[in-house]
Every structure is written in C-alpha cells, then in structure tokens.
C-alpha cells in the first residue's frame, strides 16, 4: 500500500519535471500588447542584444530607404528600435546570440509593432532574421536577404510587410 503511494508520488514528480522542462517552449506573456495584424520589416544596425532568459531583444537603428544612413529624430538622435523574441536559449538554437550579431551588424527583421506606438515589436512568427555581410548594406528599398553572402537565422524567407 505504502509502496503504491510512493510510486504515485514519484509519478507526479516526474510529470511536474516533464512539464517544467516543456515550459520554455511556451511564450512568457500574452501578445495582446502587439498589433499582430501588422508586420513591419526593417533593415538596420544592431546596437546591442539583451540575452534575457525569457525574451531576447535585439536593439537596432533602422536604415533609411536609401540604405545610406539611419533614421534619426529631428534633433539628430538615432531612433532605436527593439525586437523581442523567445528566450535566449531558443534564439540561440537558431544561431541568434550576442556573438553572432555583435553591435554594428546589419540585419533585416520582420516584427509586429507595439500597439502603443513605441519603437519596439515582437518578432514575426515565420521567416528568418537575415544578417548582411559585414558593412554591406542592401540596395535602396531592399533587405539583407538580397545581399550576396548573407546569413539566415531561422527558417524561411523574410516575412512580408503587412499593414
């Protein structure tokens, strides 16, 4: 009787551990703050990466359409955007890390912007993040996925913009 009870408890513990192991695959919070209907595609310069365990963020300054400079506010300050995704370990499984996208790297990313209008968004569910070769910006209006020698982090083509 006692033995059965103990086995039962071991079973419960095993189940809990299993559930805990599966947890990181799930999202850490709801997506209600993002406008999931809208997709914006940016090509920009990475300024830093925050490898948070729950949500990794890449901070970048978008390039202008000519790809000859970055977006700046009227007083000349660079307009920094943040794109948030799954936790650092899941991002690392696609090759996204502080080492693979150092500051100064040119990237192209599709994101669902915040409803608040602030300069941040959630990475689009489909498509890779593309990295241009060092110091090679795409042609005007194009993204890193069109540049010879690009790297892809994740699967599929860059998600298309959608309003």
């Amino acid at each position: 009787m006692n033995t059965t009870f103990r086995l039962g408890r071991v079973g419960v513990v095993t189940l809990l551990l299993g559930a805990a192991a599966a947890m990181p695959a799930l999202a850490h919070h709801s997506f209600a703050i993002f406008n999931m209907e809208q997709t914006r595609v940016f090509t920009g310069v990475v300024t830093r990466i925050n490898p948070d365990a729950n949500h990794l963020q890449i901070f970048f300054v978008p390039m202008n359409d000519e790809r000859k400079g970055v977006l700046r506010s009227e007083d000349g300050k660079p307009m920094v955007w943040a794109v948030e995704m799954a936790g650092s370990a899941q991002a690392a499984s696609q090759g996204i890390s502080v080492n693979s996208l150092p500051p100064g790297t040119y990237i192209s990313v599709a994101l669902h912007p915040l409803r608040s209008g602030e300069a941040a968004g959630s990475r689009a569910e489909t498509g890779a993040i593309y990295r241009c070769p060092d110091k090679k910006a795409p042609e005007a209006g194009k993204h890193c996925d069109t540049v010879e020698g690009r790297l892809a982090f994740g699967d599929g083509p860059l998600a298309a913009a959608k309003d």
Partner: protein, 180 residues
C-alpha cells in the same frame, strides 16, 4: 579593470554562453538557487529564533548553532555558484539593475552583522548558553539577521521584474554606414 569590465568578462565566459544557449540551464540553475536560498534562510532563522527566545531554552544556543552552521554554509556556497551562473547569462543587464545592487549590499550587511555577532556577543556565550533570554546584543543581532535575510529574498525577487530595456547606443557603433 573596472567592476563593469569584470561583470562583462563574467558574461562573456563559457559559463555565460552555456547559460544563454542551453534550454534547460536557466530553469535548473534558478530552481537550485531557490533551494539554496531556502536552506540559508531556513537554517539562519532556526538560530535567530533561538537567540530571540522563541524556541526551547533547554537546547543550548551553541548546539543549535553548531547543528545549523554546516547547512547554512553549504546552502550559501551553492547559492553563490548558481547566482554567478545566472548573472553570467546576462551580466550587463544585472550589473545595471538597482534591485540587484541593493541585494548585494544587503548580503554584505548580513555578513557584517554575523561577523560582529561572532566577534562580540557570542564570545560570552558560555554564560548564557542555556538561558531563554539572551543578552541584548545577541537579540539585536538576531533581529537584524532576520530583517536582512528576509529583505534579501524580497529584493532578489524584484530583480526579475525590473530588468528594463537599455535603448542607449554604445559609442563604438558606426551609424554613418561608413564603407571600409
């Protein structure tokens, strides 16, 4: 080498990279850190409650404290190891986090309180080892210890919710798209 450089070096270490890239590392290390912290707080509380006169005076202060000390140290060492591992995962963010800094100061204060008690009130312990009411200095040290260790737990929990976003652009990033 500044403190910030040291923090970044810890972050750039192999341990940091492993913590960032292994799916199970953070949850396992985090859970271990909680268990270690629970061991430290639990065993410290047992001694503090005896010093404050809440538990059986027939159990000598020296006996209670000797029984607990090994567990306290083991828990503390484990907490430091797992803590450094979690710090390494995102060193720059934790370095700038106010709650994290307050936590380190509280830990230092708790250590200092313990050292003062060991060098002071505890030296005359043979005279009050079996008393329910311990000297005022011992009770003050015990009360401070409870307050500091409980505060450590609270402020530690704040860290996870105040990590914030750093939009500042580092100086070395070329935003003029200069072609080499």
């Amino acid at each position: 080498m500044t403190l910030h450089d040291l923090a970044l070096a810890v972050g750039n270490s192999g341990v940091g990279a492993w913590m960032r890239s292994n799916l199970h590392a953070m949850p396992v290390v985090e859970a271990t850190h909680v268990l270690a912290a629970a061991t430290v707080l639990g065993t410290v509380l047992v001694v503090d409650l005896r010093l404050l006169g809440f538990t059986d005076r027939k159990r000598a202060v020296t006996v209670v404290s000797r029984e607990m000390l090994g567990f306290t140290w083991a828990g503390f060492v484990l907490a430091v190891i797992t803590g450094v591992m979690m710090f390494a995962a995102n060193a720059n963010t934790y370095y700038g986090n106010t709650a994290f800094r307050i936590k380190l100061l509280l830990l230092a204060a708790a250590g200092l309180n313990m050292a003062i008690f060991n060098l002071g009130a505890l030296r005359s312990v043979v005279q009050w080892d079996l008393q329910q009411r311990t000297p005022r200095a011992a009770r003050v040290a015990a009360a401070l210890s409870v307050l500091l260790w409980v505060s450590v737990i609270f402020v530690a929990r704040w860290i996870g919710f105040t990590k914030g976003y750093d939009f500042a652009v580092p100086d070395n990033v070329d935003l003029d798209l200069t072609i080499p």
